[in-house]
């Protein structure tokens, strides 16, 4: 009996699933018309940062190239010109290239960098029509004087440069100077992102216990 009714209802069972899903909130977004807020520690495209005075942070030490598991970074240093220094030290990154076709976005370069010159942004849209274009040169990687990363189509309707300047929580958490629960103006001056930063919440027990103490 039950089997008979069950068989009768069979075709409608599928509809039940459809109906159930139809009234649930939608996950699909109308990308690219609608952008998602990316996680704070998103591993996006690299940028090369500057100090507030405009000096480049990169000193051409090649540690990023040395640590890169995909061997996608090529750096050459050079003697810093005394009369027009590019970076604060003796040496500066003369050539800096990242082959983003090879890059696996592991972020080891960011960890290796002693001056926090290379950091990762939230930028992920960099499809190219020519393989050579996937090799980002220093000109493209280096942020502008105000900390804004260079973008291939900065005027594109979908490009939110402000988002690119957002704090890079992951970098902050792994950098030697920073902790995930850091709050305030970072000591290492603007990376991708300027000004005050809120603490990342819920990163560790330490943070919570410290909060309790406070």
């Amino acid at each position: 009996m039950a089997g008979f009714i069950g068989e009768l209802l069979g075709p409608f069972k599928g509809f039940a699933t459809v109906m159930r899903q139809a009234f649930k909130p939608r996950l699909t977004r109308s990308y690219p018309h609608e952008m998602r807020v990316k996680p704070q520690r998103f591993h996006g495209r690299h940028v090369l940062n500057r100090y507030p005075d405009g000096m480049e942070k990169c000193i051409g030490c090649e540690l990023c190239a040395g640590v890169c598991p995909a061997s996608c970074i090529y750096v050459r240093g050079q003697d810093n010109p005394v009369d027009a220094p590019v970076s604060p030290g003796e040496r500066f990154g003369f050539v800096y290239e990242i082959n983003l076709l090879r890059c696996i976005f592991c972020g080891l370069c960011v960890e290796a960098c002693p001056t926090e010159a290379i950091t990762m942004t939230q930028l992920f849209e960099f499809s190219v029509t020519d393989r050579a274009d996937a090799i980002y040169t220093k000109d493209e990687l280096l942020v502008q004087a105000d900390g804004t990363p260079n973008h291939g189509q900065p005027d594109g309707p979908l490009i939110d440069l402000a988002e690119l300047k957002l704090a890079d929580g992951w970098m902050r958490a792994t950098s030697p100077a920073g902790r995930a629960d850091f709050e305030g103006v970072p000591a290492w001056t603007p990376s991708a992102g300027v000004g005050l930063r809120p603490a990342e919440r819920g990163q560790s027990d330490v943070t919570e216990s410290e909060e309790e103490e406070a």
Partner: protein, 831 residues
Amino acid sequence: MPEQPPPEMVTISLDGQEIEVPQGEYIIKAAEDQGTYIPRFCYHSRMKPVGLCRMCLVEVETPRGRILTTACNTPVAPEMIVDTESAVVQKAQEGILEFLLINHPLDCPVCDKGGECPLQDQTVAYGPGESRFVEEKRHFEKPIPLSDIVLMDRERCILCARCTRFSEEVSGDPLIEFVGRGNQTHVITFPDEPFASYFSGNTVQICPVGALTAKPYRFKARPWDLEAIESVSMVDASGASISIETSQNEVVRINGVDNDATNHGWLSDKDRFVFQAIHSENRLATPLIRDDAGDLQPASWGDALDRVADALGSVRGDEVASIGGANNTNEEAFALGKFLRTVVVTPHIDAQVGDALNPEFLAGVTPRAEIGDLDGAATILVWAGDLKEEFPTLFLRVRHAVTQMGAKLIVVHPRRTGLDNIAAEKITYRPGEGPEVVRKLTAQGDQDYGAVRDLLTAGPVIALVGLTGRAEDPRLAEAVAAYALGLPGSKVLPLARRANVFGALDMGLAPTLLPGRVPVKSESGRAELESHWGPLPGEAGLDTAGIIAGLAAGDLKALLLVGADPVRDGRNPDAVRAALDAAEFVVSLDMFLNDSNQQASVILPVDGFAETEGTVTNIEGRVQKVNRILPGPGQSRALWSILDELSSRMGGQLGAGDGPAIAKEIALVAPAYRSMTWDRLEWGPERDGVVMPDRDGVQELRFVPDDSGLRPTAGRLALHSGRVLYDGGTRNTQSPALAGLTPDPAVYLHPRDASALALADGQEVDVAGEFGTVRLRLELDPSLAEGSAYVPANLDSTWVLGVPDVVTVEAQSSKGKKNEKKKGKKKGAGE
């Protein structure tokens, strides 16, 4: 190797282990030989210990209890108990490292030493991990240039005194020193006196931190992305071991490798920085063919080789001659010799460009000394060019033998040399009067040179014999060798300058020699070679002078120039140029355009140093392996492969398909090289090189030098055409770091000669010889023999003079510019 009695062994206890070590050895060395590394900064095995850095502290059991002492200057004694790992030692090591780091900037990411830095490595291994120093570090101005090549960062310096000791003890030009005291001590040059040493690069290599850096490598690469390969320096023929280090297919630096037999790890700056020429933009990258209009045009290899094959095939074999091949590997030289003797069929082959010694003397004089014999010598006789200029690493070995091993040194030269200040005796003679000096030394009754003769009675005597200058008669060297071989326990080390000239001669690139030190005259030797190669010309060929004359006279029609520039190196530049013009066909196989091959019909680009693999032979006859680490530029090819293809186009069969195949054939047909294989030189104890002949090798050529009764030449102002290290040669001028170091051209006169000619110091003068005239500045040089004029060879303006026996020096002729003339006159009048 020189015979030395085995050292007495003593037993000591090292970290609880009984070990046998030679008596008197320092603890640090004894421990290292047993595999226990004691950390150190100032200690260097090739220099005397100073105990400055205190890093090598160990505990030693003494009657007074356990004491901390430096392992670098404490010799082992029987029953000594040494502890290198005790808590006290570890505490001391941590302490020393913390002390060293309090004033050492932590700019490792910027520092060129970062990644290969003894201070970094030992801090990781033995350091405290964290510094408790919170104050500001000591500051100095960041790098200050010590010389045109070397920069000094005093903040990074840990005052180990390696550089200052090197320049004082090893190279003998103490131009840098500690100044200040306490915390403010630093290393610096004397005011207004740059660190202009031929050996300054060594201080950069031995610096245990990044305090000393050399411009050519500065910020070029990081140690971890360097690829390195061991090889041999091709600057001179002393066979200095090096490691060639590249980054991204570019040679970025060369470091010395400690080879007990040759260079002790030291290099001259030319050895070290000449690699820049490899990447010169002037390197030839494609074959060039002269078109109908007379211009050189890039061409394909096929066209170029066809052109050469046609040209060489259209003349009789013995109308073809070849000059050069002394800068190539043994394998290339062998292939060239075989190509010329069996495919072209000509005996007119000369690797030396007419400016050196008799090939039979160079390849066949016995007993031939090894460089290591210098250390056991009682007396060293140097009758050759200024070693400091021509053989810098050999110069250091002679210095070591004299200053450290107690040998007495006699220098015979027309002018001051780099060795004079350590020489027991110095004989200065006018060029051309060498035979007279030999006669006086030989004649027992003669009053002159008594002290020299006395010294020479003490054996063993090692005689370094070569040409003192280009104008000297090569037969003088043979007379000197003949005299030297009569001295007690004597051996002769014949000197010729070009990188692999000894290898080239051993491979038969000489009119009188066949491969493996077999004279062409030798019926049996030739017969044996003919059994492999087929019939060969039985007559000796023409040497370079003969070839030039032959070309001019039209007897010879075609010429191969293999890395040779006979115009610059020739006795009479104009005559050589005329001969090249007269030749029907000239093909040049070279890395660069030069004064000789500008007029060539075809120019083929060849791979050079660091681009070819093979073996080379040094002045001792020591064979060492040179290695390839990068491809040649553009379409350039290895010499053997060019010759192989050329011979197949000419219908011959060279069998020079690859390097190893040639090496095997050398071992087969060259008697002196019979048991030589590449494997032997690449692995194991023979990596330092093997002196030929060894094992099954036999040397057929026994050249007995003879005093041929050379007459002293007369004439005012005999020319001394001595070589300088940084000359106008192609490699030097193509290396930016070295090009600027070339001395200003000048003519040097003894002050008395100058005053006899009414000439003043600094005056512009015309130096005229048989072959040309040059205008040079006059400098007075009291060290020069009277009656002679010294003109440095092969500088950009001096080579035009050629090599006449005598020159005249006179005040600038009236053809000169008016105001200059006035100036000269005024000066003359004023004095």
